[in-house]
Amino acid sequence: MQKLAIKVEGLQKSFKGLSVLKGVDLEVEKGSIFALLGTNGSGKTTIVKILTTLLRPDSGKAIVGGFDVNQNPGQVRQAISLTGQFAAVDEMLTGRENLILIARLRHLQNPRRIADDLLNRFGLNEAAGRLASTYSGGMRRRLDIAMSLVGNAQLVFLDEPTTGLDPEARIEVWKIIKELAAGGTTVFLTTQYLEEAEQLADRIAILDKGKIIVSGTLAELKKMFPAATVEYIEKQPSLEEIFLAIVGANQEQ
């Protein structure tokens, strides 16, 4: 039991009669990267919100960092940190001020030093004194994740951390996540991208219409599917191909 950072059983949640989670079970081992894969509206964010004590489940049990989210939300909050779906940085504060704010709210000693360390680690040193509103999407996400690492939570939730980032920024975020896990932090990550799960995760669960339909390691998941087959796929022509086809046809006439 203590090897598990998260244990979820029979989690259900509905909003105004619409059932979003229909009995979700999952387990995340300590120190691993767990990826929850699913399309938009599959319920990923709802799970993250329940596990981070932002929402109460209708039924089911969720143990996070050794504590029940319903009974001991305060203890759970001590153990976790959340990077939500949208970079939740304070745009009217500078990068450094954002980090100091979180360090002070976590009642840590020496907030300034903590901020400087993280600014260094995330390559935000030069931008540290600028308002976060002037940051690019990638920088904002880096600051956002850095803010989640203030206080070294043992369990980090990242809700679609790379959605909306350009490929370069995405690779940067992947690197950060790998480093986190290498340092012993448990990472719970949601994503819509198969490639992201494949790149990062020790274990992957696929959520569809409020239920986990498969879960396992990447190797296990691959085994569950039939061996590679040849498929014929109808490919829609691109605008370029349409253009060339029309131009070509005209020239032949």
């Binding site: 919100k49 981070t52 004590t53 932002l54 305060g74 909050r77 001590q78 976790i80 940190s81 959340l82 939500g84 779906q85 949208f86 970079a87 939740a88 304070d90 745009e91 009217m92 504060l93 001020e97 704010l101 979180i102 002070r104 709210l105 976590r106 009642h107 308002l131 803010m147 939730f157």
Partner: protein, 255 residues
Amino acid sequence: METTRTYFLTDTAIMLGRSLRHVFRSMDTIITVTLMPIAMMLLFVYVLGGAIQTGADNYVNYLLPGILLIAIANSIGYTSYRLFLDMQKGIFERFHSMPIARSAALWGHVLTSLVSNMISLFIIVLVALVMGFRSSAGVLEWLGVAGMLALFTLTLTWIAAIAGLSAKSVDGAAAIAYPIHFLPLISSAFVPTATMPSAVRIFAENQPVTSVVETIRALLSNQPVGSELWLALGWCGGIVLLAYLFAMRVYRRAN
């Protein structure tokens, strides 16, 4: 809960510091909240004031309480706006997933409104002094004025909090300010109610702003406040309590 409760004051103070920075970094807020009422005061005193008969020998003396209330009414749209942005941008979610007192985030905004209003009201009073405002009020009366203004600010701020927490768009969040802007205009803040047509006069004489204006005016001119004080306290106390309870409900439900 025990751990978070002990930190409520510290956390609220940190939140207050954070959103006061927002206020001081946004020129727009400072202009609307402080400079606009000053411009209005200049306009009323030096352009319109000569034609307004208030019975007072000094129109600035008559006008100042109303200008102070206008300044407060101008500011509360920003409270809604800042609250709305924090909700929308996931900043509240971040705070609420941390081991801090949950209501600290909301109280931070409310106290920001109180502190920034007190600063801008102080500046407006200084300008009024330059324009010839004089008061025979003693320390106690001035404390009474400050208390009345603080209560009025809290009343409007909690109403604004409901709007900010439940709005679906930025425009919706700020819209609360518009009807509230009109309350000081349709009161005894700028002109005595006696010259108004009867329907308007009945409204003006029986709405909360008039009793607040009359209370502050009486305190500043060192006159007995009479029943206006109890009316003002009743209005503001009742509304602030309802608005607080309702805002807290919306806050808990939204988060």
